[in-house]
Symmetry: C2
Subunit: 325 residues, 2 copies
């Protein structure tokens, strides 16, 4: 094959990185060199997206690139971190210039939108997979953790829950592309990580996680890490208009939206005293922050329907070793 | 499959991480939290190893783990950085507990040997591949780059060149496991990244790279980045006793050892004034530092044989999109 690893990196990735004061040396040497502001700590996370597992094989190169960085940015958002830089390990079955051009353009677009430059990478020949490691900065000892929730704290989510799960269903069932379904697919393929919300919550929230595996599964991580229980009101969980329309026709999909992931919204807890500050935060965001329940003593997650009946939660949330898209 | 991603991380990886003063929060939240010493910069590199591409499919889990971290540590060595932390993205075709136990034990062993804790990871279900992103610390603005070589600088390599290439040949040809071949295979499967050498060279060397793609290809990266040429003496390039024995029987393999990679030695340049300091450095290392040539004006790499004749260098160095093991 005529195209070497070096040519791929130079042609598609090195030129598209932008300057940042924390980048001393970017792509092109054995490693990148970065500075971390003296009063900040570094927050890092690594995530792999595999074709056919984390996104359907027919997903466009542009959507794959967007999602690969977005899901990692969502981890930074959950910690309240400001995006700083990322590295990319890209496995490709062959050198496809159309694919690489679309992928790298889209990656540059989200990289620029969230002010996070690419500083290093590796390309290898194998089935399509994208591994990204992101790094962000937080004020020292101010990272939002899963472990700080206390009984009495109120539980909130950003944005709406379940759009991506319904989008995936529509894709798998090859449903007609109505406006609603186009919206749901956009939410599946182009998640908007809540980076600004996360940063604004560092002084307010007691615990936070991003909803990647499903709302109930992810909230359960907070409960386990904090040693607490929770009570949720099912009808308080915010849904988009598109999701409501879709569910009115297919009510049997209701459990899916709480048990499947890919929302990339934030689920967070706030003490009663701090709740008053949320209105001011929400005004500066492009998403709603919705109250969905309360942290209680114990270790159980109880979900109540509109009539106050406790739901039976069978745990079929997405697990990477249990299920494929 | 009964084993979830969370169980794999907790059972095999989370418990084996060790404490370090720079690790504020390790595995278990949305991201890790790390501190960087105020007078240091961060050096980061990411590398993927694919089964059947970067290591033969029959390689043991223990050797795969060792090599996956070693090749990344070698990038830190080439920058003169002190290992700080790493993240791991592991794709597995299935949950194989014997494999995972051997892999995680070996990863913990090299992690401990080089004082670099695992701080985060992701496991996915796909063909076997291992992506590691390492981070190290250097004194601010003291990282060893490829771009500092100047005419008159002397060129050195650490250790011996070509053992891994011969080991790979022996493996592919299924040669009998003599002592020599066992040694060469050990060099292929368990490279010793020259982390200490790199750190001791930061104040002495003008340019440095690790030999991962082949000595000539990697030295060429220094030449291109520095805008210089070089003259090498082929018979000065250091070979192990095992490699010499092997080559005495198969002299046709001589070009292989300069054009194939996986040595993970350092190739570096030192000004004439600084050469006097190398003896003291070498005494504190467990590897030799061998003078192999000189940087000259121009942009050509010229290699001379014992009789002073210039060799014809056909570039068949290893390229990830050109060749498989």
């Amino acid at each position: 094959m005529p195209d070497s690893e070096f040519e791929i990196i130079n042609r598609y990735f090195a030129r598209k990185a932008f300057a940042s004061k924390n980048i001393i040396l970017g792509i092109g040497d054995d490693a990148a060199v970065l500075s971390t502001p003296a009063d900040k700590q570094l927050v890092v996370s690594i995530d792999t997206l595999i074709s056919g597992v984390h996104f359907p094989a027919q997903t466009s190169a542009a959507d794959v690139a967007w999602k690969a960085l977005a899901v990692n940015l969502s981890d930074l958002a959950a910690m309240g971190a400001e995006p700083a830089w990322f590295t990319l390990a890209l496995s490709l079955p062959e050198v496809d210039h159309d694919w690489l051009a679309a992928f790298s353009e889209s990656l540059a677009a989200i990289s620029s939108a969230y002010h996070i430059p690419l500083v290093g990478g590796d390309t290898t020949r194998a089935a399509l997979s994208i591994t990204i490691q992101v790094a962000g900065h937080v004020q020292s000892d101010r990272a939002l953790l899963r472990s700080g929730a206390k009984p009495g704290d109120q539980i909130f989510v950003s944005g709406n829950i379940g759009d991506a799960a319904l989008g995936l269903y529509a894709l798998q069932q090859e449903l007609e592309r109505t406006d609603d379904i186009i919206y749901l697919l956009e939410r599946l393929n182009r998640p908007q990580p809540r980076v600004e919300a996360g940063q604004r919550l560092t002084d307010i929230a007691s615990a936070c996680i991003d909803v990647s595996d499903g709302l109930f599964a992810d909230l359960s991580h907070i409960l386990r890490a904090s040693g607490v229980g929770a009570r949720l009101r099912l009808d308080h969980i915010p849904l988009s208009e598109a999701a409501k329309h879709f569910l009115s026709e297919k009510p049997q999909l209701l459990p899916t939206i709480y048990n499947r992931g890919d929302d990339y919204e934030l689920c967070f807890c706030v003490s009663k005293e701090n709740c008053a500050q949320l209105d001011a935060v929400e005004k500066r965001l492009d998403c709603r922050l919705t109250h969905i329940g309360e942290i209680v003593a114990g270790h159980e997650l109880q979900v109540f329907d509109r009539e106050g009946k406790v739901l039976d939660l069978s745990d079929d949330s997405y697990d990477h070793f249990a299920e494929k898209v």
